[in-house]
């Protein structure tokens, strides 16, 4: 890459450091790259790699925050780091526009979307009349595919769906015809089908307007089909920078190779633990049976049915994947299966006995059999108690073992999930997200359950950690003969672990069957749509 005069973005030796209570954190360290006019660059990396921090520097957003920024950043001829307030304001939105991750919180909740876009337009086109600005807002909203844009421009953000809001945010970016669009995780908060639409929109807009694109994302699949070049970051440094196909097909660096190896593939059959002990294994009969399970929240006209008439049979030792988009009711179902929630309708039979309507007190006998692993590795552990005590909790509650036996058992469990048994007395904040998730798994294993419901167990983790945790769950399932219910929105992750697959939508099961058959020959149109929307690393038409 040569930093020619024609380049749209030129970053040289950029370093960004934040002063904190415990010293200085160097978020970006000696980063250099260029982007030609109209080019598209994907900046990928795991959390803490500094990718968003670097992107913010392109608009001079670190100015006045106390961050120490050095090096040089030039965007369309503007020296961003040296620019004064007026020049920066002209640059932001006028030359380079940013699209943020969470479209709901990124828009003013009190104002009509059209007015917000018009305001931005008038900041940069001082001579534009109010009317012209409103017309421009309608025009760009129409361009990003908001139906009936003139009317919808008067709506407030909360009246839009998530995907529509992200479209509106992109419309705001388009308003002043910038030469560069910086998108920071623009699809991370969206469902997979909506994600596909937004990515299509970004591609179309690029082709149409010729603007440059910098796409910051943790998801290699998202980048693969959208950009021309990839910049892989780790710990604030550039690991590899090359055309997207080169990085994906022939990565030079070990880190990139590891990263790629860890990415779950929706189009590849699972390789580990394909053995299905379900019906043949000892006691491999029906473990848990949901029959017309229904859960309604609220009452009267405000009542919302999160899960409706779901019937599902879980056999000992099998893994059932449950996939669905947000609002499909998969978490509610999972919580009912372990009876954290009481069903409002239907029956839930555990080894033949209906436990759906039991009171908390009566449930205690069944608690050790049905366990759960939670999504958020931070909130799933009590920050005030050592991880050893958290794991020991079910053992102490049962009151069967003595103190020494409990400690020994906890150390054994810690080792089993790949942690140092000496970690007993350490506190959750001393662990990384992946390690905390391992602690959560150890806690679920402690009472020797027959079934573990994993609710999005890896969705908060980086892709390499994700792979490790998924592998661990597979091993445990095989070695201990556990039944697993694996709930996730990520179809690729679910494919890696599941024997059977359940697809949910609007609280109901739309398709159920053997995992490989569903993935390879989806029967329901909804499943087909979901699978088609998953971004693939292999997409050949990636580069424009």
């Amino acid at each position: 890459m040569t930093a020619g005069t024609a380049s749209l973005v030129s970053v040289t030796d950029l370093s960004i450091a934040f002063p904190t209570g415990e010293g200085v954190v160097r978020a970006v360290d000696g980063l250099s790259f260029t982007l030609a006019p109209g080019g598209a660059l994907g900046i990928v990396g795991e959390s803490g790699s500094g990718k968003s921090t670097a992107a913010y520097a392109l608009l001079g957003l670190h100015k006045g925050t106390g961050a120490a920024v050095s090096g040089s950043v030039t965007v369309a001829g503007h020296d961003v780091l040296a620019a004064g307030d007026a020049e920066l304001r002209a640059l932001r939105g006028g030359v380079a526009a940013m699209v943020f991750q969470d479209p709901l919180s990124s828009l003013d909740p009190y104002q009509a979307i059209g007015d917000q876009i018009a305001e931005v337009y008038r900041v940069h086109r001082k001579d534009a009349s109010r009317r012209a600005a409103r017309e421009r807002a309608t025009e760009v909203l129409d361009r990003v595919g908001i139906p009936d844009a003139a009317r919808r421009a008067r709506s407030r953000p909360h009246e839009f769906s998530g995907g529509m809001r992200q479209r509106a945010l992109i419309a705001m970016a388009l308003a002043c015809e910038p030469r560069l669009l910086v998108a920071d995780e623009p699809t991370t908060a969206l469902d997979v089908t909506v994600q596909a639409q937004i990515l299509d929109l970004l591609r179309d807009l690029r082709a149409e307007t010729g603007m440059g694109l910098i796409l910051v994302t943790h998801d290699l699949g998202v980048a693969a089909g959208t950009v021309d070049e990839l910049l892989v970051m780790k710990d604030g440094r550039a690991v590899e920078h090359a055309p997207v196909r080169t990085v994906l097909d022939a990565p030079r660096e070990t880190y990139t190779r590891d990263l790629l190896a860890a990415v779950p593939r929706v189009n590849v059959r699972r390789t580990t633990g394909v053995k299905r002990p379900s019906a043949e294994g000892p006691g491999g009969g029906v473990l848990l049976e949901a029959d017309g399970l229904t859960r309604t929240f609220g009452s009267g006209r405000k009542a919302v049915t999160a899960v409706e008439d779901v019937s599902l049979t879980l056999r000992a030792g099998e893994t059932v994947g449950v996939v669905g988009e947000s609002g499909s009711g998969k978490t509610t179902l999972g919580r009912m299966l372990v009876r954290l929630l009481e069903p409002t309708g239907g029956a839930l039979r555990y080894q033949g006995r209906d436990i759906g309507g039991l009171k908390d007190r009566e449930l205690r006998a069944f608690r050790s059999e049905l366990q759960m692993v939670f999504q958020d590795p931070v909130s799933s552990l009590n920050p005030r108690r050592s991880v050893g005590e958290s794991i020991a909790d079910p053992l102490r509650a049962a009151g069967r073992l003595g103190d020494a036996e409990i400690v020994a058992r906890v150390r054994e469990l810690l080792e089993r999930v790949g942690l140092d048994p000496g970690a007993y007395h350490r506190y959750p904040h001393e662990f990384s997200g992946g390690q905390r998730q391992r602690v959560g798994i150890a806690r679920a294993l402690a009472p020797e359950p027959k079934l573990i419901v994993c609710d999005e167990p890896v969705s908060a983790l980086d892709v390499t950690t994700q792979a490790q945790v998924v592998r661990l769950l597979g091993e445990l399932q095989r070695d201990l003969g556990l039944a697993l219910v694996f709930i996730a929105h990520d179809l690729a992750v679910v494919r890696q672990v599941s024997d059977r697959l359940v697809v949910m939508r609007n609280g109901r099961i739309v398709e159920e069957g053997d995992a490989d058959s569903v993935y390879e020959r989806p029967g329901h149109p909804y499943t087909q749509g979901l699978l088609a929307a998953v971004p693939l690393l292999e997409k050949a038409e990636a580069a424009a």
């Binding site: 957003l61 932001r92 939105g93 940013m98 919180s105 909740p109 009190y110 305001e119 931005v120």
Partner: protein, 329 residues
């Protein structure tokens, strides 16, 4: 929306009913003998018996309370032995002191309290919101430190300290202002204002400290929100960020607090009224308490409670209108 108002109104009625019942029971049933109190210290047994009959104190508790409610909503008749005294709709009974209708006593005291409430509110809103915004926008400067300490001191000062000091300085030593004596607005607006000036400032400045702190923290909170970052990233100048995007969200809790305070000031400004000798409802309450004039005490408590409840509803509605994200439930 209409349903929401209806439900809130019903809820308010329920709260006021519970409050009045609690008050009624605590004051008329629990302590000693209301008949003796009503009759006065020089009454003999026979006279007390007559009073008891007259006030229907021998009826079952529920009946008594029912009569009390009836008095409030439809009015009540009292026989004074020889004649019948009619007490019109919002009737809280007759004062033990002079058989005057409690409602009349309250109405008589209302102007002074209302004068104080309106003026002080104007002071605390303008000074409080002003300083709050200023210290939020001048973060890290000397201005902010000074304002922070001033507001801390303000929240720690009771009104009778600031009031006493102001009387000492402005009336006794500097002689800039007269010692306040209440002049009704209808009599002489100019004198009314001059005499109310000190009470307004004393109460308003103290309250404004609370408002400054709230305004500051909620403005800072709003400025840290994601949508502010969006507009900053689109080159919108800092001033419009605050005026167009932050202020509306930041002022929502201030509005809520204002309404609630305005309601409670009707009974709660006792201290300011006593300090400056204003013949308001709070003074009435203190006098009645010392003379154990139960009907007056009960009336003030119930009315103040109702004012607070109503003001709270107004606050909730204003808050919800200001902050669209709070759904009316």
């Amino acid at each position: 929306m209409t349903l929401y108002f209806l439900r809130r109104a019903l809820g308010a009625v329920a709260v006021v009913l519970v409050l009045s019942a609690v008050v009624y029971v605590t004051f008329y049933v629990a302590p000693g003998d209301p008949a003796r109190l009503a009759c006065g210290p020089r009454c003999n047994t026979e006279q007390i018996r007559q009073v008891r009959e007259q006030l229907s104190l021998d009826d079952p508790l529920l009946t008594q309370y029912w009569h009390f409610l009836q008095g409030i909503f439809v009015g009540q008749d009292y026989s004074t032995g020889t004649s019948v005294l009619h007490c019109d709709a919002p009737c809280f009974g007759l004062s033990y002191q002079n058989n005057q209708q409690v409602t009349d006593m309250l109405v008589e005291r209302l102007p002074a309290t209302a004068s104080l409430a309106v003026g002080a509110m104007a002071v605390w809103l303008s000074v409080g919101i002003g300083t709050g915004l200023m210290s939020a926008l001048r973060r890290g400067g000397v201005t902010e430190r000074v304002l922070t300490w001033l507001t801390l001191a303000g929240t720690a000062t009771p009104v009778f300290i600031s009031g006493l000091l102001m009387l000492m300085v402005f009336c006794a030593y500097l002689e800039w202002l007269p010692f306040p004596t209440y002049v009704p607005l209808t009599e002489d607006p100019e004198q009314w204002a001059w005499n109310m000036l000190l009470p307004w400032v004393a109460l308003g400045l103290l309250e404004s400290a609370k408002y400054a702190r709230l305004t500051r923290s909620s403005t800072l909170e709003t400025l840290a929100e994601d949508h502010i970052r969006t507009f900053r990233a689109y080159g919108v100048p800092e001033r419009s960020l605050v005026v167009r995007h932050a202020l509306r969200g930041a002022l929502a809790p201030v509005i809520a607090l204002t309404a609630a305070d305005f309601g409670s000031i009707f009974g709660g400004a006792v201290l300011t009224e006593k300090m400056f000798g204003l013949p308001g409802i709070g003074q009435l309450l203190v006098d009645a308490t010392q003379k154990i004039d139960l009907p007056v005490v009960v009336a003030v408590v119930v009315i103040t409670g109702a004012a607070v409840v109503i003001a709270n509803i107004v606050a909730d509605v204003l808050y919800a209108v200001a902050d669209r994200r709070v759904a009316l439930r």
